[in-house]
């Protein structure tokens, strides 16, 4: 499902969470939504999923206004980090309810995911650990098989194994059943390979929306002997750096021409793509106008 957002503003009293955002998301891609705490990610997702009526502006999905649109609602699944379930519900009851209300629900796949994440359907929601709650959210989100699936920080509390299983299942299911998936996360490097496009929010605005590969190509990482790297990068805007003994790795905003790269390689330097996380940290840690 394609998403068209025009002039979207979400407010909480006097606080502007999403500030006049315009954004177009094509259908059939996995989007990464990145942003610091309080940047407006969840508010933007809530408006897309019609959980919150925009203060101003409009969200259109497949050309139709999304808010309180039954056709759009049926085809959208929004899983928040706090599950929208009653604590006293058993998992089995929540699965039954989804099967009853979701026309696209895949019960067999839900059962498979329950097994993958080692969840006990007889348990009550209140008895789940933080990670198990997140895993159950993933079950509800993926098994709904809705054309628009939105997962808001669905990894919270999951251990490394569970997160790996989540990414694996997400990618496998997406390849088998292509749809629009929006994934908001703080674990940027861990999931960056999943994203086809990345949207970065800062202080209620969208400051970057681009192909993941294009973002990686936006900068370069220079690694080598400390002194050689220091000389080479002098005068370039530095996004991030790491030092281990005499080895220094510096992430720069911008590109080098073939001559410069040849000169650097002759000095013992190596060049690699930029880390999305470095770019993210750089863009979201400076004044808003400078980052746009």
């Amino acid at each position: 499902m394609s998403i068209e957002i025009r002039g979207l503003t979400v407010r909480y009293g006097g606080t502007v969470a999403v500030d006049n955002v315009d954004l177009d998301l094509e259908s059939g891609k996995i989007y990464g939504l990145l942003g610091r705490n309080g940047s407006g990610k969840t508010s933007l997702l809530s408006a897309i999923a019609s959980y919150r009526k925009p203060y101003a502006g409009v969200v259109r999905i497949d050309g139709a206004e999304a808010f309180e649109n039954p056709r759009v609602a049926r085809r959208t699944c929004f899983i928040r980090d706090t599950l929208d379930l009653s604590d006293s519900d058993r998992l089995r009851a929540a699965l039954d309810l989804a099967a009853r209300l979701r026309p696209t629900w895949d019960g067999a796949y839900a059962a498979h995911l329950i097994e993958v994440f080692d969840l006990d359907p007889r348990k009550r929601v209140s008895a789940l650990s933080r990670g198990q709650r997140s895993a159950f959210g993933v079950v509800l989100g993926l098994a709904a098989r809705t054309p628009l699936t939105i997962l808001d920080e669905s990894y919270l509390g999951m251990d490394a194994v569970a997160r790996t299983l989540f990414y694996r299942e997400l990618l496998a299911d997406y390849l088998e059943h292509p749809r629009t998936i929006i994934l908001s996360t703080h674990l940027i490097e861990e999931v960056a390979d999943l994203f086809e496009r990345v949207v970065i929010m800062d202080r209620g605005r969208v400051i970057v929306h681009d192909e993941t590969d294009a973002l990686r190509g936006r900068g370069v990482t220079v690694t080598g002997p400390f002194a050689a790297v220091t000389d080479f990068v002098a005068g370039h805007p530095i996004l991030g750096e790491q030092t281990l003994g005499d080895v220094r790795a510096v992430t720069l905003d911008g590109r080098f021409g073939p001559d410069e790269i040849a000169r650097g390689e002759a000095a013992g330097l190596s060049f690699g793509p930029i880390g999305i996380q470095d770019l993210f940290v750089h863009l979201t840690s400076q004044p808003l106008e400078a980052s746009r």
Partner: protein, 227 residues
């Protein structure tokens, strides 16, 4: 129909258990009353069912919105569809309660009559009086349920500081029904207005109350669960 059917499915088990407990308490209660004071002069069933038909829908009105709205929206149901299904569910639930209350009274009256245990002021059930009994109990139950919805809608949509003062207008349907279409354990009804106008006013207040619920909830943000 999906919301309506699903809400009934969610409440089916607790409804069966609740009315089964009511039957058991009725049987035990009649024996105890008979042993303690002799033939009952009032309908013990109408005492219990008369309370159940008020407070069960009141609590259901509160819980259905506070617990289930987010669950249905999370499963692809719009607020409007949910509220429409809730209106059907509320009507059917209160009608079921009113039918069970009248049927229970009929059974109690029959049993006490068979054993010649009706007290002097016991409200004897009659088929001719059943529609009037039902006609008083149903709007009363509906009014309590709408009051529950109104009270919880204020708290759900706004913060407690706004929710608390809204309890008063939220209680209007309940107050109107109590004064116009009451039916007590002695079979007495309120006589402030003739039944026709009393019913019309009560139904008008119930409908207005539900429309107010719709106006408050049709674009409410879906609240997050803590934790």
């Amino acid at each position: 129909m999906t919301v309506f059917g699903t809400l009934f499915r969610l409440h089916r088990f607790i409804l069966i258990v609740f009315w089964a407990i009511m039957l058991v308490v009725e049987m035990v209660g009649l024996v105890v009353i008979n042993q303690a004071v002799g033939a009952p002069k009032f309908s013990f069933w109408l005492v219990m069912a008369g309370s159940a038909i008020k407070y069960w829908p009141l609590v259901a009105g509160i819980l259905v919105i506070s617990l289930h709205l987010k669950v249905f929206v999370a499963n692809g149901v719009t607020r409007t569809a949910f509220l429409g299904g809730l209106a059907l569910f509320g009507t059917a639930l209160t009608a079921l309660f009113a039918v069970l209350a009248v049927a229970g009274h009929a059974l109690e009256s029959l049993l006490l009559g068979l054993f010649d245990q009706r007290g002097s002021t016991y409200p004897v059930f009659s088929l001719a009086g059943a529609p009037a009994e039902f006609g008083h109990l149903l709007p009363g139950a509906m009014a309590y349920m709408v009051t529950g919805m109104l009270v919880t809608a204020g708290f759900y949509r706004w913060n407690p500081w706004a929710g608390v003062p809204l309890i008063l207008p939220g209680a209007i349907p309940l107050a109107v029904a109590e004064n116009l279409v009451r039916f007590d354990e002695f079979g007495e009804t309120a006589h402030r207005l003739p039944y026709g106008p009393a019913l019309a006013v009560t139904l008008a207040v119930i409908i207005a109350g539900f429309l107010a619920v719709y106006a408050v909830m049709r674009d409410t943000p879906i609240r997050r669960t803590s934790g």
